[in-house]
Symmetry: C2
Subunit: 331 residues, 2 copies
């Protein structure tokens, strides 16, 4: 295993501590619950937004806490759902008079932890709603998930509800907005290499030198098929061929296009993919109204990328354009 | 080779085209000279700032073009200096009445191309100055460089002169500021894996499963020594042990601390390293006044990281804090 790590069992706490030390004025780390929260949260003028899942997907979600984004992130260990008690305590620490919204990618372990925590929080009198994101078109139902999985498209749901919450929207309104964004968002990814969880110390699966995994999940779960590695052009054709007809996105649509890196792929390759996807969409009459290139939801050190489309309307565009501030996005 | 690529010989142009397509309102791509420039440049109210080197170090420099940063970036092919003619034409396209500043990492090939281009531009009546960055403490003199190499610390020189240029500083003033920032900036890096240039198709060097390269250059050049991979704690001790005494940075100093990823290392590991470095500096009485964690100057897909310190004073802090806008840093 070639990683910067001390005791692999301390990987997540040491990372969280680093995030807090790098952002002493804006973020707070609560080690008891693996929690990263805004230093100025909760505010009773806005709904608190909390997102959680296993670690290993950074910057999601612990590095996107800040004004106009998350109020708190509650991660589990690498690729493991957070304990239900941690989610509950996080919700209590961030309880707002306007309510609490929990954002969860649709994976069975995460779903269970957050649903149970929400029930207990409600029993304690809190106003809590849970919103599940399921943007991955690759597979439906698996040993990991009932229904579709939530992957990089969670960024758009989070950004939209984060902006609306900052503007004072109610909990009901945020649920409406989040469900709407989720309903027009679709993603599929391709892995070129496996990833290595620090505590395991070896790759989660094997890929031959000439192979790729089409439709890979963000924990290295199998996708649609194992295939021979092809050119960037053919890979974008495959991804658009799965994503575009699924909603479907149609000629005349304006979309946000995200090329998300899975952790080990350099940004040069992501921009190369972006250019190809942008032009192929234009050839179908689909216009890119907003572009996102970089790492948003990763799988540790996996080389690979995912492509996400969001169908834009005026409401979604305005929410995506709203200002936001997050950890260390400094020039 | 596991990369997203079409014809490897088109890797750089296809990446540059992607950058331009993702930023249609703010950036312009001039294929004849591999040039990415601000769409609103040149302005005769400010000195134009151009940075160049081989490609493969993204986001440096083609992805940091924008207000308060670079006016243009002129990259060569992967790990190859840009042709002298391209640098000259870039300088001409960005010629401003206030002059042109060329920023160059100190590598022999880049130095030759930019010095010759500057001479020719001056012969054509342009006011051009060239500033060399040499922040890498690892090695002095090699087959690649006379003197020290320029690596991730180039970001701080660029950010400072970019901010000062936006505020209307003269070319002489920018040279003074750039030399000052360079003089208080020191870096050293560690590679855990080699990197693979697309056109070569195989790794530039070999590292055994339990080895790291201490003091690696940003093109995979050898550093101080090949060593057995150790814990993150010991790696930070090694990097601080080389960087801190070099200037030296001393108890009572306030510094900017950058943990820069070399391309294949996930940001989770970079924050883990950041936390360790921050605390070890504090134990020496050195305060981190500003933190930078992420990818600033990479080596393609190399797993590894570098640590940079900048001794802060009021002038440098103000320039680092000044607003800046670059490609796709959107939330």
């Amino acid at each position: 295993m070639k990683k910067f790590v001390n005791d692999p069992l301390n990987f997540v706490p040491e990372m969280l501590k680093g995030i807090a030390l790098a952002n002493p004025d804006t973020l707070r780390y609560v080690p008891e619950y693996n929690l990263i929260m805004r230093a100025d949260a909760p505010s009773h003028d806005k709904v608190s937004i909390i997102q959680g899942s296993g670690s290993g997907h950074e910057p999601a979600h612990v590095m996107v806490v800040g004004r106009g984004m998350l109020d708190g992130a509650c991660p589990g260990d690498v690729f493991a759902a957070p304990p239900m008690e941690y989610v509950l305590e996080t919700a209590k620490l961030l309880a707002s008079d306007k309510g609490v919204l929990l954002l969860v990618n649709n994976y069975t372990g995460d779903k269970m932890a957050f649903e149970m925590a929400a029930e207990l929080a409600e029993a304690e009198g809190m106003d809590v709603r849970t919103l599940f994101i399921n943007d991955d078109v690759a597979v439906k139902d698996s040993t990991w998930t009932v229904g579709r999985r939530g992957v990089a498209g969670n960024f758009f749901v989070m950004k939209a509800v984060g902006a609306a919450a900052e503007a004072g929207a109610s909990l009901d309104e945020l649920v409406r907005i989040g469900e709407k964004v989720n309903s027009v968002t679709r993603t599929m990814g391709i892995a070129l290499t496996p990833c290595t969880p620090p505590a395991k110390g070896s790759p989660l699966f094997e890929l031959a030198d000439d192979e790729m995994e089409v439709g890979v999940g963000i924990h290295g779960e199998p996708g649609r098929r194992r295939a021979t590695l092809v050119s960037a052009d053919e890979i974008i054709d495959e991804l658009l061929g799965a994503v575009v007809p699924d909603l479907p996105y149609s000629s005349g649509d304006s979309v946000a296009l995200m090329i998300n890196g899975l952790g080990g792929t350099p940004i040069s390759e992501l921009y190369l993919l972006y250019g190809l996807a942008h032009e192929k969409l234009a050839a179908q009459g689909i216009t890119v109204g907003r572009s996102y290139v970089g790492e948003y939801c990763t799988s540790l050190d996996m080389a690979g990328a995912s492509l996400t489309l969001v169908r834009l309307d005026d409401e979604i565009t305005e929410l995506l354009l709203a200002p936001a501030e997050i950890a260390n996005r400094v020039f």
